[in-house]
C-alpha cells in the first residue's frame, strides 16, 4: 500500500501534530436524530422500533435490560474514573436518512463524506483500491458499504448487523449472544439492551474471504454512548481477516463506549481480527476522552479452528478489555498479540483470557505495554486449562516499557491448570527506555525523538509483524504520532 490517505490515523506528518493536539478533533455538523438522555424500557422499545426489529430481538433486548438492572457496576480493574451516570447518556443517535438511506456513495450526505476526507478515509478511493471493503459506521448507523458485489459472489455476507437482522434473521438468531451471553457482564448486558448497530459477517463453508474486511468506527454525537455489536461467523473451513480501526472527534465530556464482539468458528475455520484503536484520549489533565469498556470473545467451537486477536491500543482515556478465546474444539488455537500505549493520564487494563477445553489446544499471548507521562498500564491475563484439555499448551510473554518516571506498569497473570499434561510457559519483563539506548542512537546521528520511536517500534515488532502489511505501517506511524513530546 503506497497510499496512506486511506488510513484514518496516519494521514498527516508528525510535524502537523505539534503539541500533541489530537488530530481527529473536530465535530461534524450533521442533522442527527438523537434520543434525550436516559435509559428505561421505553428507550429500548424506541431503539428497536427505529430499527424495525422483529419481536424476538426486542424481547432479547428487554431481557438483557432487566438482567442489567440487577447487576452492579464492576470496579476490579486497575483504573480510576469518575462514576458514570447511565441516565445522563443518550442511547440513540443516527444520521437522519433522507428516504430510505443511501444506495451508493452519491447519495451519502456530502458533509459526512467531508468528515471521512478529513479523517483520511476517502471511500471513493477505497472503492478503487482493490482488496479492502469498508462498512463505515458513523454514529452507530452504517451509511455506506462497498464491494458488496464481489463479496456476494463469494457468498460472503458483510453488512450492518441491523441489516442482517432483516435479511438473515435465522443466522443472527442462531448465533447472537451465544459467545457473549446477555448477562455475561455489566457492560455486555448494557450493550445487549441498547446496541444500535455494528457489523455482521458470515463466511460460508470452505470459503476464503476474497478481501480483508475493515470497519472504521467513529464516535460523533455529543454525549452519545456507543454500543456496537459485531458478530462474525466463520463456517467450517472458512477464512476471514477483519480489520477494525477507530478515531474520534475532540470534546470535553467523557464518552462511554461498550462494544461487544462475538466470533464463532466452526471446524477448521480461521479468523484474524485486528484492531487499531485511537480514540480521543483526553487532554493532559485527563479531561475528556473515551471510556473503552469492551467485551470481545471468540468461540472456537470447531476442531482445528484458529483465531487470532491483534490489537494496537493507543487511544481512549480508559481502556478496559480482554479479547478472549474459548478453545472448545480439539486442536483449536488461540492467539493474542497486543500493543497498548498509555500517555498523559491514560489508563489501560487489558489482556486476554485463554480457556482451554478441547484436547491439544494451543494458545499464544504476546503483550507489549508502553507507558509514558502519567500513563498507567496493566496486563491482566487468564490461562485456564480445563480437566478435559489433554496436552494443552500455552506460551505467554508480557513485556512493559516505561518512558520517564511518572508512569506505571503492572502485571496480573492468572493461571489455572486442572490437567497435569499441560505445558505452560510464562515470560515477563519490565524495562525502562534506557538513557544508554537513546544516547547510542543519538551518537549515530539520530534525534532523540526519532530514537524513541525507533526503540518503541522495535519493542512492538513481534506484535506489528502479526498485522496485515498496511496496518503494520499505520501502526508504526501511530506510535510515532502518539509518542510525540512524550520524552525530553
Amino acid at each position: 500500500m503506497n497510499d496512506v490517505k486511506q488510513k484514518p490515523v496516519v494521514e498527516s506528518t508528525p510535524e502537523d501534530f505539534a503539541g500533541q493536539e489530537y488530530e481527529a478533533g473536530f465535530v461534524t455538523d450533521i442533522e442527527t436524530d438523537t434520543l434525550p438522555p436516559g435509559l428505561n424500557e421505553d428507550v429500548i422499545r424506541h431503539i428497536s422500533a427505529k430499527k424495525d426489529e422483529p419481536e424476538w430481538l426486542l424481547n432479547w433486548r428487554l431481557e438483557a435490560f432487566r438482567h442489567w438492572q440487577t447487576m452492579t457496576e464492576p470496579h476490579w480493574a486497575h483504573v480510576n474514573y469518575e462514576p458514570i451516570d447511565f441516565q445522563s447518556i443518550s442511547y440513540y443517535s443516527a444520521p437522519k436518512s433522507k428516504e430510505d438511506g443511501p444506495k451508493s456513495l452519491d447519495e451519502v450526505d456530502p458533509k459526512l463524506l467531508e468528515t471521512y476526507e478529513k479523517l483520511g478515509i476517502p471511500l471513493r478511493e477505497q472503492e478503487m483500491l482493490a482488496g479492502v471493503a469498508v462498512d463505515a459506521v458513523f454514529d452507530s448507523v452504517s451509511v455506506a458499504t462497498t464491494f458488496k458485489g464481489k463479496l456476494k459472489e463469494a457468498g460472503v455476507i458483510f453488512c450492518p448487523i441491523s441489516e442482517a437482522v432483516r435479511e438473515h434473521p435465522e443466522l443472527v438468531q442462531q448465533y447472537l449472544g451465544t459467545v457473549v451471553p446477555t448477562g455475561d457482564n455489566f457492560y455486555a448486558a448494557l450493550n445487549s439492551a441498547v446496541f444500535t448497530d455494528g457489523s455482521f459477517v458470515y463466511i460460508p463453508k470452505g470459503v476464503r474471504c476474497p478481501m480483508e474486511l475493515s470497519t472504521y468506527f467513529r464516535i460523533n454525537a455529543m454525549n452519545t454512548g456507543q454500543f456496537e455489536r459485531t458478530l462474525i461467523i466463520a463456517d467450517a473451513g472458512a477464512f476471514v481477516s477483519y480489520l477494525e480501526g477507530c478515531t474520534a472527534p475532540q470534546r470535553d465530556e467523557n464518552q462511554l463506549h461498550a462494544a461487544v464482539v462475538e466470533l464463532v468458528l466452526l471446524d477448521d475455520a480461521q479468523i484474524k481480527y485486528a484492531t487499531v484503536q485511537n480514540w480521543y484520549p483526553g487532554d493532559e489533565n485527563g479531561k475528556g476522552g473515551i471510556y473503552n469498556f469492551v467485551t470481545k470473545r471468540a468461540d472456537c467451537r470447531g476442531d482445528r479452528s484458529k483465531v487470532s486477536w491483534t490489537q494496537v491500543e493507543t487511544g481512549s482515556a480508559i481502556t478496559w478489555k480482554y479479547p478472549s478465546c474459548v478453545l472448545r474444539g480439539d486442536d483449536s488455537v488461540g492467539e493474542f498479540y497486543s500493543v497498548a500505549l498509555t500517555k498523559m493520564r491514560q489508563e489501560a487494563d487489558t489482556g486476554t483470557k485463554m480457556i482451554h477445553i478441547g484436547k491439544r489446544t494451543k494458545s499464544t499471548i504476546v503483550s507489549k505495554g508502553i507507558a509514558a507521562g502519567h500513563g498507567q498500564q496493566a496486563y491482566r491475563g487468564l490461562v485456564r486449562i480445563a480437566k478435559s484439555a489433554e496436552g494443552a499448551r500455552n506460551y505467554t510473554q508480557c513485556d512493559s516499557l516505561l518512558i520517564g518516571d511518572t508512569c506505571g506498569a503492572h502485571t496480573f497473570p492468572y493461571v489455572e491448570v486442572k490437567n497435569p499434561t499441560a505445558t505452560m510457559e510464562h515470560e515477563a519483563t519490565t524495562s525502562k527506555i534506557g538513557e544508554d539506548q537513546l544516547f547510542y542512537c543519538q551518537q549515530r546521528g539520530i534525534s532523540e525523538e526519532d530514537a524513541v520511536n525507533m526503540i518503541v517500534n522495535g519493542f512492538c515488532k513481534d506484535v506489528f509483524n502479526e498485522l496485515p502489511m498496511e496496518f503494520a505501517v499505520e501502526a508504526n506511524r501511530l506510535m510515532e504520532v502518539s509518542l510525540e513530546g512524550a520524552v525530553g
Binding site: C441, Q443, R444, G445
Partner: protein, 259 residues
C-alpha cells in the same frame, strides 16, 4: 581540529577531570592511556555529549565550533563518532535500519541527497568486509545477542559506514581475544586518513602494537600528566604509571617553590 581547553568535569558532584588540555590535528592518531578511574572514558563521553556529566569549566571546540553547546546528534553530524566501551543492545531495531537513519539524518543536515535502500545496501556490504562482519549481523537487532567481540566489530563497522572526521575509540580492545583484536585493528588502520583524527582510549600497550599512534598521553587523576610519542607507551608498559605520577608531582612542587 579538536581543541580541549582547561576542561573540568564533575559527575554527581565528584570532580573527575581537572583541567584537560588537548589539541588534536587532522589525520593524527592519539592514544590516551592511564590507570582505572583516571577519567579517560569520561573525556571521550563528554566530547561525544553523553548526559550526566557536568562541565564546570573549560571548553571543547571542533573546527572552531563549540561542541559542548551541541546535542549528541549534532556532534555526530559534525563528524564526531564514539565507539562505545559497552555497545548497547536495542532489541527489535534492525542494525541496518538504525545505521541508515543515522547516515541519512547526517546527509540531510548537510543538504545532501539521502541514500536509498539499494545505495545503502551496497555501501554496508562493502564496509562489512572491512571488519569481517557476517552479512547476517546486518539484519539482526542492534547488538542483540552479539558476543563481546561481535559488538566491538560492529562498532568499527558503524564507524566505517558513518565515516567520521573524529573517531573516539573507548577501550575498543577490552574484551577482545587476539584474533578479534587483529581484525578490529585492521579495520581501524584501513580507516586512517589524513583528514580523519582518531583518539584511542586504552589501558594497554597491546592495542598500540596494531594501531600505531602519533601521540601518547598519560591521563591520571583527571589531568594529562605526560605526553609523548609511541615510545612513551612502551615505557608505560615496562614501568607502569606510578613514575609518571611521581614525576608530575615533583614538577608541580618545583613549580610551587619557584613561585
Amino acid at each position: 581540529m579538536l581543541k580541549v581547553d582547561n576542561l573540568h568535569v564533575s559527575v554527581a558532584g565528584k570532580k573527575i577531570l581537572n583541567g584537560i588540555n588537548l589539541s588534536i590535528g587532522a589525520g593524527e592518531v592519539h592514544a590516551i592511556m592511564g590507570p582505572n578511574g583516571s577519567g579517560k572514558s569520561t573525556l571521550a563521553n563528554v566530547i561525544a555529549g553523553r548526559d550526566g556529566y557536568e562541565v564546570t569549566a573549560g571548553s571543547v571546540t571542533y573546527h572552531g565550533k563549540d561542541l559542548l553547546a551541541m546535542k549528541p546528534e549534532e556532534r555526530a553530524w559534525e563528524g564526531v563518532f564514539l565507539a562505545f566501551q559497552y555497545p548497547v543492545e536495542i532489541p527489535g531495531v534492525n542494525n541496518t535500519y538504525m545505521l541508515k537513519a543515522g547516515v541519512n539524518a547526517r546527509r540531510k543536515h548537510h543538504g545532501e541527497q539521502e541514500l536509498d535502500a539499494i545505495e545503502f545496501m551496497q555501501l554496508i556490504r562493502e564496509k562489512a568486509k572491512l571488519v569481517e562482519l557476517d552479512q547476517s549481523f546486518l539484519s539482526r537487532g542492534v547488538n542483540e545477542g552479539f558476543s563481546g567481540g561481535e559488538k566491538k566489530r560492529n562498532e568499527i563497522f558503524q564507524m566505517a559506514v558513518l565515516e567520521p572526521s573524529l573517531a573516539l575509540l573507548d577501550e575498543t580492545d577490552s574484551g577482545l581475544d587476539i584474533d578479534a583484536l587483529r581484525i578490529v585493528a585492521q579495520g581501524v588502520n584501513a580507516l586512517r586518513r589524513e583528514d580523519r583524527s582518531i583518539v584511542m582510549v586504552t589501558h594497554y600497550q597491546r592495542l598500540l602494537d596494531y594501531i600505531e599512534p602519533d601521540f601518547v598521553h598519560v591521563l591520571a587523576d583527571g589531568k594529562i600528566l605526560k605526553s609523548g610519542d609511541k615510545s612513551l607507551a612502551l615505557e608505560l608498559e615496562s614501568r607502569g604509571y606510578d613514575w609518571v605520577k611521581k614525576e608530575a608531582a615533583d614538577t608541580e612542587s618545583a613549580q610551587a617553590k619557584s613561585v
